[in-house]
Symmetry: C2
Subunit: 334 residues, 2 copies
DNA sequence: ATGAAAGCGCTAACAG
DNA sequence: CTGTTAGCGCTTTCAT
């Protein structure tokens, strides 16, 4: 591959000038610039971004750590994050940890601060304080999709009021007259999604309804698990008139299960989820859900990360961005 | 961030020695190595991969270009590709082009040969010969999911016999006694998926059935488009007893549409797709489809790319890997 | 077994 | 406006 020096030689200038036509075009006479540009074209020159990164002491890439992009929620997040990164002149490196803390750790120590200028963590088996240590020696880390706006972590984060999402779901079902409601609680995002469940329960309690533990199932965060759990639940508690799932994958699994069981949705049973993934409007009946606005969250996360890169904080409180409140999206399943 | 020199100073050795304990441990006396390792730990030292890449003249990352990771097929491919890359010591950078050739071009010229040692292209609006030019000046490029094993491109590729996939689908429907079959042909992978359609048609013709153009719809590669097309098709040609879709997204859209229309699957209408994405077994009724074995293709693609990086070819024929033949997966929709 | 020195390709002062 | 110089952090001969 041709180098800056090759181009310089060919255009009969020095490397600094070539660098300037690329980065400070106004610092160089038009005719010279033209000559240089021709040389660049003729040689098919491409700047070596590694060398540039080294010289500038910064890198043009951000990293995004998540458990597995095979979970249908993440691609939407990734796409939005990549767009935001691209707009800001960054590349995005997606790091699947495969739910393996070792892999996550390896990514972190290898790329944070060298290949990547900053890391966005969605979901991890790595302890927060381990992340803090990494952030202290390496690149800034932002935690996204943090589930507890009222209890912020020791790291910069973008928090989503999932309790509010749960509350919205509860209110919606109550308004429709449901009293007998089953719950499917997922374990995504590195732990049980209990802010969502708590938000839901609180509203129910305010309405004078005590949750029935027999109608609550805690399961992995997949369509298949939602399916199986729904089958089990409807068998054990056939009286349920509605199902609240802490996320859309579970809800979609439940929808499929109900279809298989011959229970009509929403006539016999209503179903509501949280997130509003694309699939939610693509299934039939389409899924009523509480949208968290993934795109906005992804964008805010990238922006926070970039801000942190440019203005590293001292010993100040880690900044927290609270995402816009989730909103109800009524569809056919309720 | 601590540098090699910092570590060297602290361990009272020189940078070369530190480098050696990291990369050629046998070249350094155990006691010295121990001292160095301690210094590394104490300083929280992390090698700067940019500097290393520059010095070594190679980079530890591979790029994967695709139109949009929001298409549910890609995440599965990406996950498998990343695993394969990781096993080989590479990072994977996912580049969404958003179906915009400009963005694809920008990625290519920016990262190919500098940030990324090689590029895997899944799907692009960039012309093949433009890719060739890039490969000539920069990093090797591998085309994956090539649809025409009988007509190889001027670039290294991993080809999948999609015509065979179409043929398998046709044979399956014929065996079940279907004669009146509608077709949903997608436009994914940068062009119509016509190898699949052709393979299908040939088998039909051998069976003495001439395709009815009125029963063929060409549409974008999404669930929503599949849904709409199926509604339109069943209205216009209600006699159809089966539907062949060139990919699972379309087929799943069709499944939803048929449910909405009150047509029973598979009793009234059978549906078959191609690919076998995860969702195919998660919907109800689950989707009969022709599996292409995404994981094997992704893995083979990464392996080919890495081989090309290590042994650049001269003017020889670009190597082509033919993926294992697609196989029928019988489920509930037929 | 360790050190010294050169260089990867680029940027960033600073001179002229 | 353009050239000179130094150096980013690391690897890699070549000496010692």
């Amino acid at each position: 591959m041709a180098t800056l020096t090759d181009v310089a030689r060919r255009a009969k200038v020095t490397a600094a000038t070539v660098s300037n036509v690329l980065r400070n075009p106004d610092k160089v006479r038009p005719e010279t610039a033209e000559r240089v540009k021709r040389a660049i074209r003729e040689l098919g020159y491409r700047p070596n971004l590694n060398a540039r990164a080294l010289a500038e002491g910064r890198s043009p890439t951000l990293a995004l750590m998540l458990s597995s992009i095979a979970n249908p929620f993440y691609p939407e997040f990734v796409l939005a994050a990549e767009r935001a990164a691209r707009r800001a002149g960054y590349f995005l490196m997606v790091c699947n940890t495969d739910d393996d803390a070792e892999i996550g750790r390896a990514y972190l120590t290898q790329i944070a601060g060298t290949l990547a200028e900053g890391v966005l963590v969605l979901n991890t088996d790595i302890a927060i304080n381990e992340l803090c240590e990494s952030a202290a020696v390496g690149a800034p880390i932002v935690l996204s999709l943090w589930e507890h706006p009222e209890q912020l972590p020791a790291l910069p984060c973008v928090a989503v009021d999932f309790a509010h999402a749960g509350a919205l779901a509860a209110r919606h079902l109550l308004e429709l007259g449901h009293r007998d409601i089953g719950m499917l609680v997922g374990d995504g995002c590195g732990g049980l999604q209990d802010a969502r469940a708590t938000g839901f329960r609180e509203v129910m309690r305010e309405a004078g309804l005590e949750p029935d533990d027999a109608a609550v199932l805690q399961i992995p965060d997949t369509i298949d698990a939602g399916f199986a759990a729904c089958v089990e639940l409807m068998e054990r508690e056939p009286h349920l008139s509605a199902l609240f799932a802490t996320n859309d994958l579970l809800a979609i699994g439940a929808l499929q299960a109900l279809a298989t069981l011959g229970r009509k949705v929403p006539d016999d049973v209503s179903v509501i989820g949280i997130t509003d993934i694309q699939l939610a409007h693509q299934v039939r009946p389409s899924l009523t859900t509480v949208a968290i606005n993934t795109e906005a969250i992804a964008q805010a996360s990238i922006e926070l990360l970039i801000r942190l890169i440019h203005e590293p904080r001292g010993d100040t409180q880690p900044p927290a961005v609270i995402a816009p409140l989730p909103t109800l999206v009524r569809r056919q399943s309720t």
